[in-house]
């Protein structure tokens, strides 16, 4: 089902709200009265880092239309990513990391392929 009209957007928003709400609410509610199973916690620990890396790799190393590996073609994004890593590590500030990343990729795109 493709998403084009305002009505489609509205349906998408309502369903997204549900998808966002269920994992935020039920575990909090359930574990307010009982213990969290250890295996669940141990497994969930690695989900965010795995997913975020996969998403970053998709943006930096993949062509999002053909899903082909583009290697080190987008030099601007690769250099900007190294800069963002350094800024995140030393400043621990999300806002600064994103702003520096945007400025870096914008400036670099003037001289190297993005």
């Amino acid at each position: 089902m493709s998403v084009t009209t305002n009505m489609d957007h509205f349906i998408l928003i309502l369903l997204s709200m549900l998808v966002a709400f269920v994992p935020r609410y039920f575990p909090m509610k359930i574990f307010a009265s009982r213990e969290i199973p250890k295996w669940f916690n141990e497994w969930m620990k690695y989900v965010p880092v795995s997913l975020f890396t996969a998403l970053v790799v998709k943006d930096v190393f993949m062509n999002t239309e053909t899903y082909e590996f583009i290697g080190f073609d987008s030099v601007a994004k690769i250099i900007a990513s190294v800069i963002v890593m350094a800024v995140s590590y030393y400043s621990r500030s999300m806002g600064l990391a994103v702003v520096v990343g945007l400025i870096a990729v914008a400036c670099l795109s003037l001289v190297v392929p993005i």
Binding site: A32, S81, V98
Partner: protein, 255 residues
């Protein structure tokens, strides 16, 4: 009266850095949502109801590549699954609150206000669930307003969307860096990256992200379990990386 006023001020001061950091990201997100075809009202709705930077960027970029609705929702489900962990780790602090409170509290929780509230609950005995909710609502306000301004600005100026889209990637890189606790986390991150390339090239779709996430997180889970059972808690891979024992810990286990 006086006491509650100073408390309100304190809550505001605690929420402020977080709210400020939402402005640039919210603006970028608003511009992208506009480019993806969301009108002003829809942008307001998605900010208020979904309230997740990652999810909203994801919706915008998936719409621009004309992904079908079920793919978008499946990706969102994976993206939002981490809140199960965040929510369960906060649960001990919201014991005894009403059902209605818990509903409202859960709906406006996200990564950043979670981090602020978790730290406050853990270090400040006087921090109440009501204070935590105020932090959530302040961040929600700043986020929604920035999104709306971005959405309006997107109608007047033309920007290179590939560049704006990079805001999401920068946000994820930040979150990866914040979660690195030991060498095993770095290893799992690399494993996930390799599997992401292979499975996306193979499946020719974003389902590859789901496959990579499942494989990498299960490898991490199994490897840690193996190392701990072998009694190698202090092994090379599990050794803590120092400067990161910081505020963005998402798990309490093993602490």
């Amino acid at each position: 009266m006086k006491k509650s006023d100073t408390r309100r001020k304190e809550v505001f001061q605690i929420a402020l850095p977080l709210c400020m950091s939402y402005i640039p990201i919210g603006l970028a997100c608003g511009v992208l949502l506009h480019a993806a075809g969301f009108n002003f009202l829809m942008t307001a709705l998605v900010s208020l109801l979904v309230f997740s930077g990652g999810a909203q960027f994801m919706i915008a970029s998936m719409l621009t590549i004309h992904a079908p609705m079920q793919t978008i929702l499946l990706m969102l489900l994976f993206l939002e699954m981490r809140y199960a962990l965040l929510g369960s780790s906060l649960s001990q602090y919201v014991r005894g609150t009403s059902k209605k409170f818990l509903l409202i509290f859960a709906a406006s929780m996200n990564d950043e206000n979670y981090a602020v509230n978790y730290l406050k609950f853990a270090t400040d005995k006087t921090w109440t669930p009501q204070n935590a909710l105020s932090v959530e609502h302040l961040s929600l306000l700043f986020w929604t307003v920035s999104n709306l301004i971005g959405s309006l600005a997107g109608g007047f100026i033309s920007v290179n969307l590939t560049i704006v889209d990079y805001a999401l990637t920068a946000l994820f890189i930040y979150m990866i860096v914040m979660q690195i606790k030991n060498r095993l986390t770095i290893l799992i991150s690399i494993v996930s990256g390799v599997f992401a390339v292979l499975s996306m090239a193979w499946l020719k779709s974003t389902m590859g992200l789901v496959v990579a996430t499942l494989i990498a997180s299960l490898i991490g889970f199994a490897l840690e379990d193996y190392l701990v059972k072998k009694g190698k808690n202090k092994a090379f891979l599990l050794k803590k990386i120092k400067p990161n024992a910081g505020r963005k810990e998402i798990s309490k286990s093993g602490e």
